[in-house]
Symmetry: C2
Subunit: 161 residues, 2 copies
DNA sequence: GCAGCATCATATGCACACGAACGATATCGG
DNA sequence: CCGATATCGTTCGTGTGCATATGATGCTGC
């Protein structure tokens, strides 16, 4: 995932300008909050992949692993709620982590529908190694802002949920 | 896409608490800026789908349509750069919009590699209808914040790119 | 009890998102 | 002019994200 792939191009042909059809003015796509959030998400994901310390662990997989590390044992859907993933999404994440033998599961004896998920030894080891990199990713993501602005930004972001 | 699907559950079984393995304390997933950005992105996408005024147009498709509407005619990769999509991603977006006959293309006479993309009449009509909903989506996304906070938030977000 | 409803996990289909690799074309340096 | 390099668009593979549907199980109220 290349960060700022679109910058610093020397060799791009000049684009042909045609009639702009109709400028509804005022509406600038780049100023829309949704577009900015999407780009911030892209940038964070790129930083995460580059810095987290494992070639394959993604942002959502990391969230699931950390929650299991801290909470011990959880059902699949409950883990999904704690990490903001719907049942279909968490299912795929858990399947891939189970394939990597980072997570194991056993049936719940009180509720036959549930799978009790927990980390394997390898899973605990991995989380132990990656956990210190988490704050570094957050730091890098917020790096363009001053310390005061970082606090402000995170506080505002929390209110948007 | 249900907004806040995980709230207000009355019927969830109490989860079984097991040993939390090891609390590395201080590290709270929900406070990490990446997790918050991801959730903000989810929320915005849900609001967009609900409010934009077309059942099938997605955030990225909307961005591509608006750019073409304002710029007239663009090559595929150039449009991708303007909307922050890599070549593989913009290719799929354009393919789906072409299938819906909202976009047409012709070969560039100066550069045989390029496809010159532009809106069809139906595409221009659709953008015309949706364009006024764009600001409403932004407004709804920022609604939890005061006017001053909204300005602050967008300004900070722009610095993170 | 038991009928209706909720929840659990699964499966399918669609849409982003990106890395990697590819062939075709364009451009630049010597 | 020609070789190195870059860009254009495509394809494949993997992973997220959600709507929708389904079958199994659990719970609540009558």
């Amino acid at each position: 995932m290349a960060i700022q792939r679109n910058e610093q191009r020397m060799n791009v042909k000049p684009e042909i300008k045609v009639e702009p059809a109709a400028m509804p003015d005022g509406y600038v796509l780049e100023d829309q909050v949704g577009h900015l959030i999407r780009r911030a998400h892209q940038r964070h994901t790129a930083l995460f992949i580059a810095m987290i310390g494992d070639e394959q662990v993604t942002t959502t997989q990391y969230a699931a692993l950390v929650k299991l590390y801290q909470m011990g044992e959880l059902s699949q859907n409950h883990l999904g709620r704690l990490t903001a993933m719907d049942p279909a999404t968490i299912q795929g994440v858990i399947r891939r982590l189970t394939l990597r033998k980072l997570i194991s599961h056993r049936p719940d004896k009180n509720d036959k529908r549930r799978r009790c998920l927990s980390l394997t030894g390898a899973g605990r080891d991995l989380v132990g190694r990656l956990l210190s990199n988490g704050p570094k990713v957050s730091k890098a993501t917020l790096d363009p802002l001053t310390a005061a602005e970082q606090q402000q930004f995170v506080a505002l972001l929390k209110r948007l949920t």
